[in-house]
Symmetry: C2
Subunit: 209 residues, 2 copies
């Protein structure tokens, strides 16, 4: 599989939407649907992955550690989509300042060397990689029960650095938007309705720009 | 299971060591062994969990979302140990500024409300929790291929906030040590030997203090 991502042309009219929430019918599910509607409305194709529903296995096996390793077909299919898509959307709750394990493992397994990034000749992996993703835009939608001020002051919002710098910056994604809807547990139906409209409107605009 | 962690007495002479690395014989494995040796040498008991070897399932199911939810026996056993241990050690590589998914899911599933923290009466989950862990000391040992300066300046080391503030601070752990061994990919055997000695020496001292 090595190298199949390098130099790929992206389809700007195809966006991958990745959802990670265990409860069918959750606000995260409805939010992902709103984002898909926004994309469709703007004439953008969507490949939608509900990782829980697909039973995605997030545990990276030893055989996938190296760039030349054997990768499971289910993971390879995601790698192939990732190589070719024009943009990425992630929808997940903020659990412990990080994505749920099923999504963390999607990053561990799918965002592979040769697909999403590569190191230069002679670099064993300690240097500065070259991002390979052809699609350069990504959006992250989170839900949280932590008020914004407490998140900033007590926890320092490590999810921001995770997505922006560790994942997207590493892979050459240059346009990035993140939005956290909070506080979920005390939100009203009216508020959640507004959030869904905001997400739907955003998606079409951001990815067709 | 709810509440079984509250008010538990810790056994200060028992430390949980949690390892997350896919390759048997990895430096992370040898490092975890060195930490166990250090603990044993100081007369401290160890419960050791190699999450890959145990086949720990990191995917939190919908049924475990609520505090009163049904929790799998394998997870309950970890919860029970967590409630009673005197300290915690985590050993894992830094993957994308976060733990490997198998360990992220251990946090998602085992560090539960009623076991590790609880919210006050009338608080739906948006407020400030009370940490329940009786053991108040934790150590994290990481491996990384990113030089320290690049980690700090480009990625902002979100793992530090994850462990220190999001997990340990939330659960009432007040003594915290973290050490990252780097750059693994260019390290010499001599260097790795020194790291192992450092870890072994540290473990006995820190947890018997």
């Amino acid at each position: 599989m090595n190298g199949s991502g390098a130099g790929q042309r992206a389809d700007p009219m195809k966006v991958m939407v990745i959802l990670a929430h265990p409860r069918t019918g959750s606000f995260n599910h409805v939010l992902a649907e709103a984002l898909c509607r926004g994309l469709w409305g703007a004439g953008i194709g969507v490949t939608f992955h509900d990782l829980y529903r697909e039973g995605f296995d997030p545990v990276l096996p030893a055989g996938e550690l190296s760039k030349m390793g054997d990768v499971e077909p289910a993971v390879l299919a995601h790698c192939d989509e990732l190589s070719h898509c024009g943009g990425l959307v992630f929808v997940h709750p903020n659990w412990w300042g990080a994505p749920p394990a099923i999504l963390k493992g999607w990053i561990d397994r799918v965002v592979r060397p040769g697909i999403a990034y590569e190191f230069l000749e002679g670099d064993a992996g300690e240097g500065v990689p070259r991002g390979l993703l052809a699609g350069k835009s990504a959006a992250v939608f989170n839900t949280s029960d932590t008020p914004e001020e407490r998140e900033r002051e007590v926890f320092g919002d490590p999810l921001e650095r995770f997505w922006r710098d560790c994942v997207f910056g590493f892979c050459g994604i240059t346009r990035y938007h993140r939005r956290t809807f909070r506080v979920m547990v005390t939100s009203t139906e009216k508020q959640r309705g507004e959030w869904l409209r905001e997400a739907e409107e955003f998606a079409g605009g951001f990815f067709s720009a």
